[in-house]
């Protein structure tokens, strides 16, 4: 199932359970997968039109009135465009608003550079108190949303909209503040979020093992606050680190991991977007053009191990 469909299904359940859960859109309800919920929840779904900053502050006003608003837009418009409204109306004012950004990084595909957020995690990460969550697959998303809904604080959900290969088993138990160990290993710690997780896991189980590298793979679904304990323990054990992310290597997962390892002397390399804007294309093209390929993961992993 598409991630947005799973998202809409869970939101429908949450809105049924609690009439104070409301969703606000900025003319992208169809894209977010929630347009069909408008009929069933006329007092819980509001389209603000193409006015994201107004949407963010209205959500803050609703939260001050005891509601639990979710605001939806594409990642760049849910973050960099409304950074000040998120910072002041929502985060500083401690208004319990959830921010759902769809089409992170290169997944904006044919919408191209203007709609591609290479910096959204960096923008949001530097806002005090912000929690940042990026799901890997439908199982993790379904497990996470009720937990996030119960969390009293601002959470940014970085949501891939289309189908994702399943990584987690149905029995998966989600902890918002605990990273998930996907594969144990002793030679290298790979920390990965979102888009490339399945592929990185596959590389670790096959190609890297064949190269003699037994890599540990850990999914950092919550980039802020990062699970420092898990990151540090794994890095100390393996002695080398690789981060893989669909985001600028500045300000995102790589930065968060380096900050967690600030007191360690452990080599850490990055596969991510090298401080550049996006462009139009389909995922396979963009993955290659922006250096996010499995081949690059394997090569960089080998380099990281050689630095030990």
């Amino acid at each position: 199932m598409e991630m947005r469909k799973a998202y809409a299904e869970v939101m429908s359940e949450l809105m049924t359970e609690d009439r104070h859960v409301v969703i606000l859109d900025a003319d992208l309800a169809k894209a977010s997968g929630t347009r069909n919920l408008y009929e069933s929840f006329p007092n819980q779904m509001f389209d603000c039109g193409v006015a994201e900053q107004n949407m963010a502050s209205i959500a803050a006003g609703l939260a001050s009135y005891g509601f639990k608003p979710y605001i939806e837009s594409f990642t760049p418009f849910a973050t960099r465009r409304i950074c000040d409204q998120v910072a002041i109306s929502i985060a500083y004012a401690k208004n319990n608003v959830k921010i759902v950004g769809t089409d992170p990084g290169i997944s904006a595909e044919l919408n191209g550079a203007t709609h591609m957020s290479m910096e959204d995690i960096g923008v949001m990460r530097s806002i005090p108190g912000m929690v940042i969550f990026e799901p890997v697959d439908e199982v993790q998303l379904r497990a996470a949303l009720p937990v996030i809904n119960d969390y009293n604080g601002v959470v940014y959900i970085r949501l891939f909209r289309k189908e994702r290969p399943q990584v987690f088993e149905e029995s998966y138990k989600f902890d918002l503040f605990k990273a998930d160990l996907l594969k144990e290993g002793k030679d290298l710690s790979i920390f990965v979020s979102g888009l490339q997780t399945a592929e990185v896991l596959e590389a670790a189980k096959n190609e890297l093992l064949a190269e003699g590298i037994d890599a540990e793979v850990i999914n950092i679904h919550t980039i802020k606050p990062i699970d420092r304990e898990t990151v540090t323990a794994s890095a100390r054990k393996t002695g080398a680190v690789l981060t893989v992310e669909n985001h600028n290597v500045i300000g995102g997962l790589h930065s968060a991991v380096l900050e967690a390892l600030e007191a360690e002397k452990i080599p850490a390399l990055a596969v991510g977007i090298q401080d550049r804007f996006g462009e139009v294309g389909k995922l396979p093209y963009l993955t290659k053009a922006l250096g996010l390929t499995k081949e690059n993961v394997i090569e960089t992993a080998k380099k990281a191990v050689s630095l030990k």
């Binding site: 001050s64 009135y65 608003p69 002041i88």
Partner: protein
């Protein structure tokens, strides 16, 4: 509670001067210009309870021009939300009375504001929340005229009319001055009434927004618009720095200016008519 609104206005003005004079500097002009509106709301119109500041279904007020915090604090203190002595802590480290309104620091403040343009959207959100809850509350707000240069103000205006939020009453502090010059010199907003009308709002022009009875009549009229399906804009033609001659005379210079304790004391005497 004092019900003589003219006396209440004097008390609030003296509270503002005491707070800013003790500190030595502040947004005095835009505080003094909105005193009558605050007096009418907090001492006459709003369904509030200082003993129960978070009362369910209470009316709310959002000071979107958040830098007028000291005016709201003077009003809240006068109304009994906290001791008047607290006004002397304005902007001191660790105070619960910061320059700009903060809902998490100050008892009685309904919304954090300071980054201009956002407060009115928050008020729209609260008005929408009240409609959903059907609790009969009225949400009040005030925006600055300079603030009305923010695009977000007009996004909020459009949405409030579209959603028929007739429980929302917003005023504009139309004192026609901002930091860099007159509003019309810097980036003109006239004709303000026609703009709000075009956005689908009821508009009430108050010739003298510093005449407390004119302001009261306007708020009464705005409340009677409930059922019209339209939010209401009250345009308060005010004087920045109103009530203290030398501050009024500073013109654009009175937005954020030095006020000594001696000047404050003299101004208080002027207001009290001594």
């Amino acid at each position: 509670m004092n019900t003589d609104l003219k006396e209440v206005c004097k008390d609030i003005r003296c509270g503002i001067l005491t707070a800013i004079g003790h500190l030595g500097v502040g947004h005095i002009g835009g505080c003094l210009s909105i005193v009558e509106y605050l007096a009418v709301l907090y001492f006459d119109e709003m369904n509030i309870d200082p003993e129960n500041p978070r009362m369910q279904g209470r009316d709310r007020f959002v000071c979107s021009k958040g830098h007028a915090g000291p005016a709201v604090y003077a009003t809240l203190a006068e109304r009994g939300y906290f001791p008047k002595e607290d006004l002397l802590t304005l902007n001191q480290g660790g105070t619960h009375l910061p320059s700009h309104c903060d809902m998490n620091l100050t008892t009685g403040i309904d919304m954090t504001a300071g980054s201009l343009g956002q407060g009115i959207s928050c008020a729209v959100g609260a008005a929408l929340g009240s409609k959903i809850e059907n609790d009969g509350a009225t949400v009040y707000a005030i925006v600055g005229d300079g603030e009305s240069q923010e695009g977000q103000v007009w996004e909020a205006a459009m949405f409030a009319a579209s959603k028929k939020l007739d429980n929302l009453i917003v005023a504009t502090d139309y004192n026609k001055l901002q930091i860099d010059g007159t509003v019309e010199e810097v980036n003109g907003i006239a004709p303000l009434d026609k703009k709000w009308e075009a956005f689908g709002w009821n508009v009430i022009n108050v010739e003298n927004g510093n005449d407390v009875y004119q302001v009261k009549a306007a708020v009464d009229k705005a409340k009677s618009n409930r059922g019209s399906g339209k939010p209401t804009m009250i345009i308060l033609n005010t004087k920045k720095g109103c009530g203290v001659k030398w501050i009024e005379d500073l013109g654009t210079g009175n937005h954020n200016t030095n006020v000594t304790e001696e000047q404050a004391a003299a101004a208080i005497a002027e207001i009290r008519g001594n």
